[in-house]
């Protein structure tokens, strides 16, 4: 899409401009040419009325983690990491895919996107029929909205609307809180005739538990929960994740003092902050982990790829031992009776 000249783009941070360019040219925040690698072997149909919306954050979890850790290392040494973003954008424009390079790097450490694979298995285990659009999955374009490019966001969301209509999709199960928020709250604000029902994964799981689905962990474990800001304050989903945790046999739920939509503390990665102020964002991640550690839990569960990365980085920064950060989907998957 052509970009209007005369914009005051020089005031927009470079990291957010890169996200924008990637979304507009490649349909994902990382500018990668493939997004569905994680789903290999899962045999998810690419059609169906109910759509599993994986989202950039989870599909590129490894890439994001690797990139952010490089950027943080540069920022901490006072090096101009923005230039590496500029370089990324330059190379991307010339068909050299840096996102994929980071991807390959990341996959060495984390071969699969465990949260997504877990989520798919959990949903299948609850007998929910759904499809995944794989390479055709549109980007929710929320980063455009957060960067200030609301016109572009509106245009992208109209494209998404048309695509989903063509595919006959009536319901979406979202994984990333900010995608879910965009599809559920922002789309109706920017589009006319948007009638797709949007749920988040935790709502779907809680519904199944209410209908009798049982989960049990092989060992007793103390779990605390970190509320992602978008899930709690923007979508109001604070009880569902807690109910899920309380209903899993073997879980002792330990509530953190700063919690839910009122007082939970941001992980330090919101609104694009982490790509504007990488080092500060890291400090804030450690601050949140410190609060969560006070619960004496051995597992921190959350439900957002951004929080997941931030909290893991925070744990590393504090050199905290005996604590694991996990996505809700991973914990629930571990607690499925089929093993």
């Amino acid at each position: 899409m052509p970009i209007r000249p005369g914009r005051e783009e020089r005031f927009v941070p470079e990291g957010l401009l890169l996200f924008r360019d990637n979304i507009l040219t490649k349909g994902n925040i990382f500018g990668a040419s493939s997004k569905a690698g994680w789903a290999k072997g899962l045999q998810i149909p690419q059609h169906g009325e109910v759509l599993f919306f994986a989202g950039c954050g989870y599909q590129f979890l490894g890439e994001a983690e690797a990139t952010l850790s490089v950027v943080r290392a540069l920022d901490k040494r006072g090096l101009a990491w923005e230039r590496t973003l500029g370089l990324t954008s330059f190379l991307n424009k010339r068909g050299i895919n840096v996102g994929e390079f980071y991807g390959r790097l990341a996959h060495r450490f984390r071969p699969h996107s465990a949260p997504l694979r877990s989520a798919v298995e959990v949903l299948k285990g609850m007998d929910i029929d759904f499809g995944y659009l794989a390479e055709e999955e549109p980007c929710c374009a929320a980063p455009l909205y957060y960067a200030g490019f609301q016109e572009e966001f509106a245009a992208q969301s109209a494209k998404t609307q048309a695509l989903l209509k063509e595919k006959g999709i009536t319901r979406i199960i979202g994984m990333v809180p900010s995608c879910t928020y965009a599809l559920r709250e922002l789309f109706p604000r920017f589009l006319t005739g948007w009638q797709v029902e949007v749920s988040h994964f935790v709502e779907v799981v809680w519904e199944a538990i209410k209908k009798g689905k049982k989960f049990r962990l092989p060992h007793e474990v103390t779990v605390t929960y970190h509320d992602p800001c978008v899930l709690s304050r923007y979508l109001g989903l604070t009880e569902e994740p807690r109910q899920i945790l309380r209903s899993i046999e073997g879980v002792t739920f330990a509530e953190v003092e700063r919690n839910k939509e009122e007082w939970s503390t941001c992980c330090g990665g919101g609104g694009g902050f982490e790509v504007i102020f990488p080092e500060i964002s890291h400090i804030m991640a450690a601050n949140r982990v410190r609060e969560l550690l006070e619960t004496s839990a051995s597992i921190i569960v959350t439900s957002c790829p951004g929080c997941l990365i931030q909290l893991r980085e925070g744990v590393k920064k504090l050199k905290a031992r005996g604590i694991k950060v996990m996505d809700m989907a991973q914990l629930v998957r571990t607690a499925m009776s089929e093993g």
Partner: protein
């Protein structure tokens, strides 16, 4: 982009400074505890805060008219009132009253900070004393305040002792009680000798022309009553229709500022007067003989017309949001310009600067939304920051 880069560098340095994060951690814990207890003791506060929001919703679109009413009321009370459209106009009016070579005692005022009032007066050959303890420390250090209600929040007692030893030429130990007593000693004489007292106001009643000032130290009492001339500088947005409204605004402000019950609330409506001898009203009894109130516009009326951002003028300046901002917790007032935090981004864009000045601040907001939960009048600063980003990105 250079402004942004310089800001980023400052912000990063602040985030690395353990003095800031340690001081803020203590301050945040004590603030949260205080407010929680205060709300338990005075549970009507939350209902009152809703009323205050309604008062602000009604007052801000009528700001121009209400300032007019307030000016009229102040004149009737034998004070003099002015409306300054720009900081330069405000300073010109103040210069006309003050002149040069005066001794001035000042209460802490964000509006004064906004127009660099102290620096201006000093530049014109006046001797100016900040009388709020925190602000006095800031003045001595020659740095900028880091919090609305606690400007020297990041300065530990050891640094204060060092500073006061330098000022008095005597060794002051790092004992907070002794430090406070030392400053009392230094400033006592200034209050008595001062030619002019100055302050801001937390809220102003249009019907009676009454200025409300909330404080604990007693320095505003002395600044506004001991010298023969008193000058107040007040943002236009502070005016509400009635004195009853003003009481509500004041109570909500102090409670969310973390003062359960403040030691003092000053109400000033006019110069000091007496009719005790033959019922002849004579001005300048024990308090000031002259009172001047300058209302400052400086972009506020433009902001009041903007339906997207108008809400920023509802801000009571209680400072509660800062204690909830995870970025403020590690950087204090470095996340800000003249005004801090997410709300500060809006004020910077409309009042103290332009979009270029506001860009670094608005892109610093995490949009986590906790400030809005704390805000007594539920200002949606994160949403306004996103709308500001829109204006920046679209260059309008």
């Amino acid at each position: 982009m250079s402004k942004f880069k310089a800001y980023k560098k400052r912000l990063k340095e602040a985030a690395r400074d353990p003095k800031i994060s340690v001081a803020l951690k203590r301050a945040i814990e004590s603030y949260r505890k205080n407010v929680e207890e205060a709300l338990k003791r005075f549970p009507h506060t939350l209902k009152l805060a809703e009323e205050v929001r309604a008062i602000k919703e009604q007052s801000i679109p009528r700001m121009e008219e209400l300032v007019g009413q307030a000016c009229e009321a102040i004149q009737k009370n034998k004070g003099k009132a002015f409306l300054a459209r720009t900081p330069a106009e405000a300073l010109e009016i103040i210069d006309g009253i003050v002149g040069t070579g005066k001794l001035i005692v000042k209460g802490k005022s964000l509006t004064g900070e906004e127009i660099d009032l102290r620096e201006h007066l000093e530049g014109r050959g006046n001797e100016v004393y900040e009388t709020d303890l925190g602000e006095y420390i800031i003045q001595l250090l020659g740095i900028k305040p880091m919090h609305l209600t606690a400007p020297s929040i990041h300065v530990p007692k050891e640094d204060v002792a060092h500073l006061l030893s330098r000022v008095t030429g005597k060794k002051v130990p790092p004992d907070i009680a002794i430090e406070v007593a030392t400053v009392r000693g230094i400033l006592r004489d200034k209050f008595i000798r001062a030619d002019i007292g100055m302050s801001g106001a937390n809220v102003v009643a249009a019907d009676t022309g009454t200025l409300f000032q909330i404080e604990n130290e007693g320095n505003i009492r002395l600044s506004t009553s001991a010298p023969p001339v008193y000058i107040a500088l007040v943002g236009m947005e502070k005016v509400v229709p009635t004195i009853e409204d003003a009481f509500k605004v004041a109570e909500v402000t102090w409670r969310f500022a973390g003062y359960t019950v403040p030691s003092y609330v000053n109400l000033v409506s006019g110069p000091s007067k007496t009719g005790d001898i033959e019922k002849v009203i004579t001005y300048g009894a024990h308090g000031p003989k002259e009172m001047y109130v300058i209302f400052l516009d400086a972009g506020r009326s433009r902001l009041a017309q903007d339906t997207v951002f108008r809400e920023a003028l509802f801000c009571l300046r209680c400072g509660g949001c800062f204690y909830e901002c995870p970025l403020f917790a590690v950087t204090a007032g470095h996340f800000g310009d003249k005004y801090f935090g997410g709300i500060g981004a809006i004020w910077t864009a409309f009042v103290t600067g332009d979009l270029a000045d506001a860009a670094p601040l608005t892109y610093s907001c995490l949009s986590c939304g906790r400030c809005k939960v704390r805000c007594p009048v539920e200002i949606d600063a994160p949403q306004m920051c996103l709308e500001l980003r829109k204006r920046i990105a679209e260059g309008s």
